[in-house]
Symmetry: C2
């Protein structure tokens, strides 16, 4: 039998990860083109004014506001055309009183002009132009620096770069940017049954693909038997090449408790927490070994997923010094009563769907049989948390869920998923 | 001056893309580990029952329901322990009347047993065990196939693979999966001003990083002058190596209209639509050349982004034969009146933020100066569409926006962004 585990609350576990774990994964320089989806390593500010000069926002006629004020359909203003400026010309034309210049979108505004009248409100006639509409001063002109000024922040450290950040960085002359190096994760799966091929190593795939999805890379992976010395040996190797080690199984699985023993056997290892009051996944534990975080999580795939999403995500947040993307939440009506064990935080897999007839979102809990049950994650599109101080939610309660996939239409949810437990229940 | 453009409504443009554009990008086989984030090419069904046998969901004691029914704290049931089964043992023990077997989580349920009592409700005493709680029949047993049955669908063609799909595929024995090949996109940026370095090629970075973000790859890129023959020549080369060609600029930019002319010059080219009633981006056009889609979009970065998000996304949907992830929407209160030109669909960049004091979401339009203004996309976290039949929205209206980034807290929105236009407005 494993040693007694001191369970702590989830909030305390997350707080300890923030306070007691430090991680420094450093930056690397990549071509700005390759930086989309990466987390930027430092603040970047604009090197230039954007636009670099006053330019026209439309195809039209640049003129003096004082000349065209009052122009209308019924009483157009007549101006003399003194030239035209295209988007690529660096003309030195200027606009005097009662003069106008044809400008294309993006073209430099000639000196003297302070308004652009769109071409559809102008009638050209030889070297004259009739203006049929008035606009406010500076209308249709993008002023120098109005988009970005020299020194203005484009992106802050920790931002996940999206296409417009890349465009702004490139416009500001950055051809390379420094982004956080990808988090290097080592994965150790414990279990004689996996080694012998009795059960497939499902949890490895959960961890490896989760790590990739959050922008990390798996740099080490090994399946080891339920042996303290062999797990310790794998940990030593893993710590040499990785930023974080994730160990699955070996904690209160069956009648063994080998993984925590293996971690504590290592030099300069320190417990952050051991056991968390969450369901599934209460055996989750965290250690620091040689300054690097080591997470022990369940060997069962769903519990493993939920633990990664809580604890590995927290480590990533810490690494990038920023708030990672938080998942979107949606509120809906619970289709069925859900129990909770007081003092534990439960994570239920649910389907959140829009019921067009009732005009509301319905939250349908999937039948819950054990944390090994991967099919509930395939079918679920959201996770419902029940906090420690509640005994559950009644049917019809308004609950908030966090989406892990697209919101569905209720008419497309198979009835079998929406039905109450179709067979003898396992967890009461 | 460009030729007169026949504008159509957005819904009609999207319908034509669906009806008139066909695209077949085929599949490729990848290791299941590398498949996360890719779109699966065919339906996959389970090859095995999961779990492959009836197994225990907890550490406990397997027994006959008829023996333990009625057990309680006050009147425990006494059973004889006839063995133990670990998660990796393939034991042939069976449970007779008044007998019990110790089982660990994941272990095979011995024949004869039809319930497992968690270890915390059992007291072991030599080869006897006291049971202090009763459970329903089959409690704490995961039945063979209850997770996935042979033949059950794991993922459908077109699904974007998430970690749990990878786990289910691997559990079901798939070490490789067939995913859609990445969409190959060619990018042609037109404009003498870009070639001469007068303005940076911002829009290229918008397109290239957008393509990467949606899981495609840029296989060809070229900046060409505003010349019909040079654009046509670049298109010919681009079409040889790509699935889709995106041409930026060259459509009603200034006094030229060279891109559509270049496309129509090519053999077997056909117009899908030319001009769409959207703002920004109304010059967006689509063609089919040699059976492949060619999109012409604005050379201005924001308009380009919005056009990609509408039209390239529609092409991707068609390619993957599925609904792509749709963006989440949120409803909030509009902080400022917004105008619309009847007959056009406008796309405004806005900040959606949660106002904790007022307990609602506020939608703050960013000042709008032109579709070249990249900084509004850096600051915006959502896009507000105003449909064709509305003249705009009044301040205080309830509006739905689609999120392009995380929802913010209103207290973190800089006042300058929330202020009404701080300088003379450009678009009335």
């Amino acid at each position: 039998m494993g040693r007694a585990i001191e369970f702590i609350e989830l909030s305390e576990a997350l707080r300890r990860l923030v306070d007691e774990v430090s991680i420094d994964i450093g930056g690397e320089v990549v071509d700005v083109q390759d930086a989309v989806g990466r987390y930027v390593f430092r603040d970047y500010t604009s090197n230039t004014d954007l636009p670099p000069f006053n330019r026209s926002a439309v195809d039209g006629v640049a003129a003096r506001f004082s000349d065209v004020a009052g122009a209308s359909e019924g009483s157009p203003v007549l101006l003399k055309l003194v030239g035209s400026i295209d988007v690529d010309s660096s003309s030195a034309i200027s606009v005097g009183r009662s003069e106008a210049v044809l400008v294309s979108t993006g073209a430099l505004i000639p000196s003297g002009a302070d308004v652009v009248i769109p071409i559809e409100y102008c009638l050209l006639s030889g070297n004259l132009v009739y203006i049929y509409k008035t606009y406010p001063k500076y209308a249709n002109i993008s002023l120098r620096g109005e988009d970005l000024k020299v020194g203005e922040v484009i992106v802050r450290r920790g931002t996940k770069l999206r296409p417009w950040h890349i465009a702004a960085l490139a416009s500001s002359g950055y051809s390379e940017v420094e982004v956080f190096r990808k988090l290097r994760v080592a994965v150790i799966n414990t279990g004689d049954e996996i080694l012998r091929g009795v059960v497939p190593n499902t949890t490895y795939y959960v961890v490896a693909s989760y790590v990739r999805e959050v922008g990390g890379e798996v740099v080490f992976s090994k399946v080891v038997p339920d042996s303290v010395s062999e797990i310790a040996e794998a940990l030593r190797k893993a710590l040499e090449v990785s930023d974080v080690v994730v160990v699955t199984g070996g904690t209160s699985v069956g009648f063994r408790d080998v993984a925590p023993d293996a971690v504590l056997k290592l030099e300069s290892s320190r417990e952050v927490f051991r056991g968390v009051r969450i369901r599934p996944g209460r055996t989750a534990s965290a250690y620091v070994v040689k300054g690097k975080p080591v997470l022990l999580i369940s060997g069962l795939p769903v519990a493993a997923y939920i633990s990664l999403d809580l604890f590995l995500t927290q480590i990533l947040r810490k690494a990038y010094g920023t708030t990672l993307e938080t998942r979107l939440t949606i509120t809906g009506t619970l289709a069925r009563k859900l129990p909770n064990e007081l003092g534990f935080r439960s994570f239920y897999r649910v389907i959140a769907c829009r019921d067009k007839d009732r005009g509301e979102v319905i939250i349908i809990p999937l039948r819950l049989t054990g944390s090994g049950i991967i099919s509930t994650l395939i079918k679920a599109n959201a996770i419902l948390e029940i906090p420690e101080d509640l005994e559950g939610y009644e049917e019809g309660s308004k609950v908030e869920v966090s989406l892990i996939n697209q919101l569905e239409d209720c008419s497309s949810v198979p009835l079998s998923d929406a039905e109450p437990y179709p067979k003898p229940m396992v967890k009461p």
